[in-house]
């Protein structure tokens, strides 16, 4: 083609203008079913940032711990719903369901979890929004629990499903970190509904939304399952 058709040029110009417009207006992860160019670019970069954070993650680096006097009081509630709508779990009926690459998939009762050796930590929870609180949690180190149930710790992910429909997943390296615990107690007493009763995950090496509350099921898997907020655009690794 030797001649440059003005109509073609006009079309090209419009396409470029449209592209620029989508970059400007569609930069909001607002329509998950129809990701635009900007969304795809941001997903790509977020995937790259997952890789960088995994490379940066040192399994021996501990999150800072604090004195009891530094604990934030009153504790701060946070969820994607109002505190009055926190899920009420019936402890008598509750079981921790296990799935995926786990040798012994029998469900666990709360008293069975309490019979396991417990560890306590006073650590800081940093929210993706930028605020932070210091709290005291205690429970079963996840790495001990994973070994106790015969989980394949060479698998890539540990995924969690919660009573309120929330779900998330973490990398195996973070799951095996010494400070990652299945917390049963908060501030010296069993977890209450707003703070994740009966069991929540506590990962002080990750942002707050990677600490799912009121866990109903746990799966060890090589399949990437993402998460409630991650699907909407938060970075999946979200390490701290």
């Amino acid at each position: 083609m030797t001649t440059f058709d003005p109509a073609r040029r006009k079309l090209l110009g419009r396409a470029l203008a449209f592209g620029a417009l989508t970059m400007l207006t569609g930069c909001n992860f607002d329509d998950l079913q129809h990701p635009d160019l900007a969304d795809k670019f941001l997903r790509l970069m977020s995937g790259w940032n997952n890789e960088v954070q995994a490379a940066l993650f040192n399994p021996h680096t501990l999150a800072p711990t604090f004195k009891a006097s530094e604990i934030t009081r009153p504790p701060r509630f946070n969820a994607f719903y109002d505190i009055t709508r926190a899920p009420q779990v019936d402890l008598a009926k509750w079981r921790l369901e296990l799935g995926g690459l786990i040798g012994d998939k029998r469900a666990w009762r709360i008293d069975q979890l309490r019979a396991l050796p417990q560890e306590s930590q006073i650590t800081r929870l940093i929210c993706v929004e930028g605020w932070r609180v210091i709290g005291q949690w205690s429970g079963v180190p996840l790495r001990h629990f994973l070994r106790a149930v015969g989980a394949d710790t060479r698998a890539r992910y540990v995924a969690f499903k919660c009573a309120d429909g929330y779900y998330t997943s973490i990398d195996m390296e973070s799951a095996l970190h010494p400070q990652t615990i299945l917390a049963l107690d908060f501030l010296g007493a069993p977890l209450t509904a707003p703070f994740g009763a009966p069991v929540r995950l506590r990962v002080p090496t990750k942002l707050g939304f990677k600490n799912p509350k009121s866990i109903m099921a746990m799966e060890v898997t090589n399949r990437w399952t993402g998460g409630y907020w991650e699907k909407q655009g938060y970075n999946w690794f979200s390490g701290s």
């Binding site: 909001n28 970069m45 940093i126 993706v128 655009g233 938060y234």
Partner: protein
């Protein structure tokens, strides 16, 4: 042979053999300048949106000035644009040292020269010399480079207070890192305001940052 006597003649000879006049801003500088502008604007706009999610001063930034419709998008833009800023900034520092740009254009800068040029500028008696940065400009450019480095380091400290704990400790912890990061941003925004104001006052400095422009040949003025 007396090389000291010969040197000016050689230089004149070299000048005649290279008729192409020197540009004001060489092309690597122009490319990096505009890539940096893109990165900085994206980082500031998205950073304001991130700040708005948990402000620590009694104000938030107006929505129209932010990038990313909600926090998730703002963080995604911020952590995408930072790669452009860091790679481009690293390229700029390497190029600046290797090409002699820093040595010849930004150095030296003495307090006396800054005082002299600043007082001249306030009385509107500081002429714009093409291709030469006055002492105030040198101080501002060196200052904004330092602020850029501070913003990156404090940003890394906010991003990874656990894994990059020495950096977090250096700034005094997680929240102080946020404050330092915010302060560095404020300094950069202040620089941008002055930078853009000066371009508005002397608009002829803008085209050379796009085309390169050219330095006046001293021989033409004889």
């Amino acid at each position: 042979m007396n090389s000291i006597v010969m040197a000016p003649a050689l230089r004149a000879h070299a000048r005649r053999r290279q008729p192409a006049r020197k540009v004001i801003h060489p092309w690597p500088l122009r490319v990096m300048h505009w890539l940096n502008a893109l990165a900085i604007i994206t980082l500031i706009g998205s950073g304001w949106q991130i700040y708005n999610a948990s402000p620590f001063l009694p104000f938030v930034f107006p929505r129209w000035a932010t990038i990313g419709e909600w926090l998730g998008a703002a963080i995604a833009w911020h952590l995408a644009a930072i790669w452009l800023l860091m790679l481009n900034g690293l390229g700029y520092l390497l190029w600046g040292f290797a090409s002699g740009h820093f040595r010849h254009k930004l150095w030296p800068v003495s307090p006396r020269a800054v005082w002299r040029d600043a007082s001249a500028a306030i009385r509107f008696k500081l002429p714009h010399e093409v291709g030469v940065y006055n002492a105030v400009q040198r101080l501002l450019y060196l200052g904004v480079i330092a602020l850029g480095i501070l913003a990156v380091l404090s940003g890394l400290a906010v991003w990874k207070p656990v894994q990059l704990w020495p950096l977090s400790d250096l700034f005094g912890g997680f929240f102080p890192s946020r404050v330092v990061h915010f302060t560095a941003m404020a300094g950069i925004v202040l620089f941008l305001a002055v930078h853009i104001l000066l371009v508005a006052l002397v608009p002829r400095v803008l085209p050379p940052m796009i085309t390169g422009g050219h330095l006046p040949d001293p021989e033409w003025h004889r």
